[in-house]
Structures are given as structure tokens and as C-alpha cells.
Amino acid sequence: MSAFRKAGRGIVDSAKAINFTFDGKTYQGFEGDTVASALLASGNHLMGRSFKYHRPRGVLGAGSEEPNALIAIDRGTGRVTPNVRATTQEIYEGLNAESQNRSPNLKFDMGAFNNAFSIFFPAGFYNKTFLWPKSFWDKVYEPFIRNMAGLGPAPTADDPDVYASSYGHCETLIIGGGPAGLAAALAAAKSGEPVILVDENPQLGGSLLTTPTIEINGKPARDWIAKSLKILSKAENVTLMTRTTATGYYHDNFVALVERITHHVPNAKIGKVREELHRIRAKRVILAQGAIERPLVFNGNDRPGVMLASAAQAYLGQYGVAVGNEAVVFTSHDTAYQAAFDLADANIRIAAIIDVRDEVQNDLTEGATQRGIKIIRSAVISKTFGTLRIKACEIYEPETGIKTKIRCDALLMSGGWTPSLHLWSHSKGGIKWDADIAAYLPDVANENAVCVGACNGDFGIAAALSAGHKAGQKTGGGRKVYKTNEADFGTGVVNNGLPNYIDTAKQKAFVDFQNDVTEKDIKLAVLEGFKSIEHVKRYTTNGMATDQGKTSNLNALEIASKAVGKPIEKVGLTTFRPPYTPTTFGALTGYRDAELFDPTRKTSIDPWAEANGAVFEPVAHWRRAWYFPKAGEDMHAAVSRECKATRDSLGIFDASTLGKIEVVGPDAAKFMNLMYTNPWSALPVGGCRYGLMCREDGYIYDDGVVGRMAEDRFHVTTTTGGAPRVYRHMEDYLQTEFPHLDVWLTSTTEQWATIAINGPNARKLIEPFVEGIDLSPEAFPHMKLREGKICGVPTRLFRVSFTGELGFEINVPSHYGRALWETLMEAGKQYEICPYGTETMHVLRAEKGFIIVGQDTDGTVTAHDAGMSWAVSKKKKDFVGKRSLARTDLTANGRKHLVGLLTEDPNIVLEEGAQIVTDPNQPIPMDMLGHVTSSYWSEPLGRSIAMAMVRDGFNRMDETLHVPMPNMAHKVKVVKPVFYDPKGEKLNVV
């Protein structure tokens, strides 16, 4: 038995000893212990160093509110979890915990010099200090701040553990498994509808676990818990979730629950789920989160050994651990007396109870007298002593000025209770100030939710039980009376600013322990003009640490309200935001890491490309073959070869990613007339047309070839990236503006695999495989489509070209795509068939001056600007974008036009995005005429080519302009953007 373990106390299993290490030293605890309780059992209070001043710290609390005792759990490479609260981490055999924020070790920390010079670290220190000189930033300030910032060690390797996520639904979600939550669950279970009860701790029972002397209806609380759990685990409609934190409460009762599955398990295997994020939609939510005791703000209140009275009570009641041999209690609330009595009854000496109040209830004074405890009223603690552990404290009685120093190894404080409104606040529930308990309470609900128990101000076990029962019932089924033997919960007072004879500037009275914010800092912030509590919070960083101000917000509020001179309800509470407690990135990511992060869409031909050495590029969600390098080739060499092979003989390209939409119905042509700038009524069945789509603002939105399959059926193609937005654009207009049209849209992108065959030998290649289609130039001219079979499977065969060569696009049902591709590759050997990727496709089309929407256009380019007025019908009375195209600014002179550029030096390939000017020697800022949109090396032409948007470009033909670059300005000549085969003769190779 360790020195501070009290036999017969607590619910840890003393038969099961567990060894773990803290800062390399081995400790022993029992099953059911946390790191904090096991360390305390060994008399070790020092668990961390504070953030700013590196002051030695012990535990303040015993649960998830803990601001001080943050540790890192090291489970090997990539498995280090920083900033774990020692008060919630269960011990297991072999657990390896390290303290944080200290160097070289916890007892001797170099960073503590900050404490000695704390006078130089006032509120707003960062804002004030690092202003000048500018040259200090890189070398002095930034390295200093970086070294100071952050708490625990950031992981240095990928986390090999698996994190899960899932969705769930229930009728009633109960958050908090204390007396109120359990009573609510018992009542809700009877409805037969799904109930989920969650609690962040390993065991259900909440405050009942820490106060073992409580009896409910004449039986020990532990028996009541056991009986309740038996009923609840038997009920099929009830799910009990422990070690599960409700981290965030979102719209319409959507609550995030993080379940820690293996945090308490020794040697947890890699490859199995460590945490699971449950995304729960509940019809109603019952919040039974309890309340957190408030620290008192006094000089020296952060010494190891100074803690909340309820924490000391919990260490004794739940873990059987005495937090010291000799404790002083300092309080402004009655509940601390019960804690003192519990400790005294376990033979821990209570040196004195210091009460700030003048009056104390009789039953409390009697209880103290019975136990031989001295009560000192109207007094405060003005000072504490000890470095790594409290040794003594000084009692100061302001009325008489008497100061008394008493020895103690623990100091238990209580400043009253703060109902936990965190999740209620996430749900945007209203709050109201309650002067009696000096705290905010829930007001009007914003969701179908209710708070019960201490978080609703229903203090005391009996009150919590009956409130829980009432809320748990679906329809009011009557009250249930729970009788307990508990003492009256009592009352307290709020003291914002305890009296002290010591100059405020010399006191260290902490409000936010984790961010090292003192009473003085908050007062200073107000003095410096910060009146809004939200500003005070940001300036002082009070409540902004990982504990979300669970123990500090109300104390800060009270101090600020007094300093501002406004009542607290006028100052307002800062907003709580998710997560309730620190949450791992793993939990947020869930399964969605690596290949599950986002789908990578691949065509049916993709496996061939991969097997044949393609280099890929992402295009929207697709991965597309970019180029196919041969051994020793770089991208430039591969693309030049692919371009040449296609122009000389035969190229093959996977165009399956092109968006496809089937537009079908008697009004299909009418609809097409409205959605595209081109006319469609006269397009014959079997004909194709290049279609240009505008938004209503008149700017180019998308383009693609459209084929008419039948009078009432169009096969529309879109750009790869544009497919989803074009579909949405069309559905939107069809459903909301043109619902009178009898026409329907079906996405067929993935129904078809599309193989583009380009080059003089294109026809010869496919001829032997095609059935039922006459491929002769007379029967099947350019911009026509035919249906038939290829290799025995149905095909929609388009004679189109995006390269300027004789070209076909073969559509086959997608599962046949790869087999067809392989057949054509084999047959194409005689023509030295060359597979090419998107880069060659881009070069070939640029040589012909075909635009890529989104590259040559940017959402401010009209058809006219792009030199495609021919694609805009003048006869149609209406189409989307028509009226905008008549806007005066879109018809005005001086707009940018799409032109070609040829560099004076044919070997210079311009940078895409480079600016264009008339005179490179003009003063800066120069008058910029436009920019280069596409630029490539053209192998067939033996020189570079470029396309550009240039102001008034159509009227600048043959003009010389300049493209300034860092080293020199390049001379360019403005030309028409058709560089290769301007007459289009190659389209009609026989």
C-alpha cells in the first residue's frame, strides 16, 4: 500500500496492481486509477509546469476540467499524444507518461526564469513587446515565440493507429452519466425508443462515485448505480457509452461523440480502431453535465497541493487516496465543509477551515466541532509557502489585521459551483444570470434539449435524480421521489477580489491556471480600455487554453465586471465553442486518411495507362494520364514525340472523363436552344455541333461537342472538370425556369468509355473493327456521328477532332473500354500508334487555337472576346446569357480578345500567366494589356506558340508587344490563334 492510499476507501481494485512510468520513474497504482490518482497515492503532487511562467503545478481538479496536470503519453513512434490530462488518463500496465513544458526536468526547469521576471510578462505581453525594431523579428522575436508557444510535443511521425467514424440516430441522447443522467436514462428506457447515455469517464455514476457515503432510498449509492446499470444494460433500446465525450453540439440535435476505445488498454495493437467519432442525430437531448467547482482567486493559489475541495473529496472517495496528511480548507461555499468532513473521517488532519464569510450554518459548525476542526471566519489566505509542494499558508484576518502561518501539505479551496453550460451554449441555448448561485443557468432552448441536474442549478443528489427522472420521461408520467441521506447542499458567496494586505502588483493570484492569467492581468486589461468581455478574453487569453476556461471563466467574469463597474449580467459570458475537451486529429479524420481522404476517379482504361508507365495528373476528382514517357525521356521529350506521332500517323487518347449528359424528350431541342448559345433546331439526326454554354451573365461557362442521336435525344459532352456544374446548371434552369418543357437529363459520363483516335491513319485503324457504319469520307463526314458496333459491342462513333487531324471519338459502354483500347493498340502497331496524355492533347489543340475553358477563359470572357461570335446564334430570341451579351460594357470597344502570340526568338516558350505590355521601358506601374493563357513548344512547327488575352487584341494583328520577365522582356508578335494547318486540310485526309 502506498503512503497515501487509505484502506477501505475508493473503488479501485487493490488486488490488481499496475505498473507505469512517469518521467522515467516507475510507479504502482491499482486498476481504476488515473495517472493523477496513482501519482498522488505515491505522494507525488508535482505533475506539470505552467504555460507562461513555467511555475510548478499539481492537480487542480480530478476530472476533465483539469488545467494543470497535462502529460504526454508515449506509445512509440508516431504514437505520442500530448496534452492528455493526468486526471482522466487511466493507468495500464506499461503506460509511459511524460510531463511537459519543462527543460531539462520537472523539478528543475530553465523556463522558470519567466516566473522570476513575471513583472515583464503582463497581459497583452505579446501585443506590446514585439513591435520593434523590425529587424528583430527573424532572429529574436520569432524564434523566442516559437520556442515558447504550444504545450506538449508535436508528433514527429505519421500516426499508425486507425480512427473510426460513423453516423447514428436515437430518440433520446443523454450526455452525462451522473445521478441526473442515470435517472433520465431509467425513465427514458421505458419508452422503448432508442436511448444513448454517454459519459466521458470509464464508469457511470458521476458524483455518486466520489461520495460513497450517500444513500439513495436507504441503500448505498453504489448499489443504486449497480442496479440501474443492470436495468439499463438489459434494455435493448439503451446504449451505454463510457469513455465517450460529447465534444460538440451542432444544428438540429447533431452531436459529435468521441469514444476512446483503447486509451486504457495495454499494448493496443496497431491496425485496430483507437477512437471512434459517432455523429449522432437525436430527436431530443438531455444534458446532465453537472457542475464544476470554482477555485478561489488568492495569492499563491497555484502551488502544488492547492486544489479544489471536490477534487480532494473525489481522490479519497473514488480512488482511496489522501491528498495530504494535513490539509487546510479555504472556502466561500458550504460544500467544502462536506469535503473537509469526508477527509477528516478518513483520518486526514484538517488543520483549519478558513471561511471568507462572517456567518456559517450551525450544522456545519457542529460537524466541524464534532471532528475537532477549527473554523476561522471572515478570513482569507494571503500567502502560500513551498516550492514544489505547498508547505504552509498564511491566514489573514482583515478586520484585525492578524496574520497566522499554519503548516499544511494540502490546501483545498471552494469558490462555489459553475453549472456546465458548454454543450448548451454550442446549441445556442439562451442563458440567464442567477444571482443566488452567482452563475449562469440555462434559459430558453434553441434545440429540442433540456438541462437537468447541477448544470441546470438542481444542486444535490436528490434534486438531480428527480429532475433527471422528469426529463427522461417522454410524456409526463408522474414524479418519482428519490430520498437521500445527503447534507443540505448549502450556499455560498462570491468574492471577486479577496482582501489582502500585499500590494496587488506583487500577488500571484491565478484565474486561468493553464494560460497563466492572473487577477492583475484582467484588471490591467480593463484599465487599458478593454471593456467587452470578449476583448478581455482575447487580450489576456483567459479561457482560451485547451481547458476552455472550465475553471476560470466565471472568476474572470466577476473580476472584469467589478473592474468595469458593471453588473455581471451586463458584462455577458464569452462563447463556448466545440470541442468540449481537446480532441485528436485522428478522431476528426476518422477513416478518411490516405486513399480514403477523397475518391480518386479512374477510367476503365486507367489500369492500362498505369501498367504502361503513364505519368498522371489530377483533373477535378479524376486522375488522367498526363504523358507516357519512354525510358530516358523527360516530359518535354515525351510530349514532343507524342505530338509528332499523332500528326504524322496515329495517336490514341483516353477521353472517358469528358462529362456526358443525355438530354431526352420531345422538347430536347428547345431546351438545348435555351442552354447553349448555338442553334440546335436545324441540327439533323446524326449531326454534331460544337456547343458553347454561357452563364446568365454572358460569360463562357463550358463547351463541348453535342451530337443529335434522335429528334428527341442529344448526347451532350462537357469538359472534364465542368461536368457536375453543367449538370447542375441545366437541372436548375429546367426545374425552376423552364419546367414547362418535356425534357429530362441523365448523367451518362460513366456509362461510356471514350477513346479518341487522331491522325492520318485514324480511319484505317478502326475500319476492320467497325460494323454497320460506312466510314467513307462521303458517307461519314467531319462533325457527324453514327451508331453501330465496334469489336462486337455497341458504339456511338463521333467523327470529331480536337487536334486538327482526322479524328474519331469512339464511345463504348464503359466496361468494354479497356479491352477495346488494347485491341486498338495491338492493331495500331502497323501505324506506330502512340498513346498520348492530356499535355499532348493541350498542345495539339493550342496549335489549332481551340480554347480550354478555364485556361484560356477565366469567367470574364464572352464568346466574342474569345473570337467565337460564330457560335452565338443571332436569330434565337432567348438563351441563357443573351441579354447580358447586349450589356453596354460587353459590347464596348477595348475589351480583351483571345489572340495568338509568336515570340521573336522561336526558342522562347513564354510563361503562362505572364503579363503583356506595349513598352517594357515605361515606368512602373506599367499599363498591362493582358496575359498569356496558353504557351507550348510546338514540335511540328519547330517553334514556340502562345495564346493570350490582350486588350483590343483583334485590332492589333501583327503588332509587336512585349512580355517582361525577370531577366529580360520578350518581343512577341500578335497573330491569329491558329498556328497549324490554318486551312484545315488535315481533317479530311482520305
Partner: protein, 111 residues
Amino acid sequence: MFEIHCPYCNEKRAEIEFSYAGEAHIVRPNAKQQPVMSDEDWSRYMFIRDNIRGEHAERWWHNAGCNMFFNAIRNTVTDKFVMTYKMGSPRRTAKQIDVARETNTADKAKT
């Protein structure tokens, strides 16, 4: 994440099945109206929105569901949906919205 009632599916479904589609009841001028509209009138149709603080008539698309666009009244301050209704049905009156809001409150009280 909202839970949105789709008036076509007649069910409440998770927000991730939907996309927002801007303000509702903005009628596109027809082929006869467009040519006689001034640039200013046209720009008002194109670009000017009410940007209401409060109950806003807006469109949603149940794209990962029944694929239908529909209208909704959502309070932009509280982020609460008051009601949803089918595309093509007229703008809801203040009275209709009041009734829907009260019904929601009553439904909530029942559970």
C-alpha cells in the same frame, strides 16, 4: 449539420445530401421582356439580392436525394428552417410563415 425537410421526399434528411441554391422567387425575365429591359433593370435581376437578416426565402437542391430543387424559409439569424415547399408554388405570405413557425414550436413541445 442541418436536418432539412425535403418537400418532395416528405422526409427530413441530412444537410450533406443538399446544396444551397441562392435566393428564391427571382423570376427570370422572358424573351419578350429581356430586350426592353434597361441595363440597370437587368443588373438588378442578375445581381441584386435582398440579403435578409431574418426569415429568408431561399432555394435548396436535394441533389443526393430526389434531385429536386425546392424553396425554403430559413431564419438567417437563428439558422432555423421554418418551412420548405415545392418549386413553382408561390412565395409564402407572412401569415403562412407565422403559422408554420407556430406549428414547429407546437411540434417541438409535444416531444
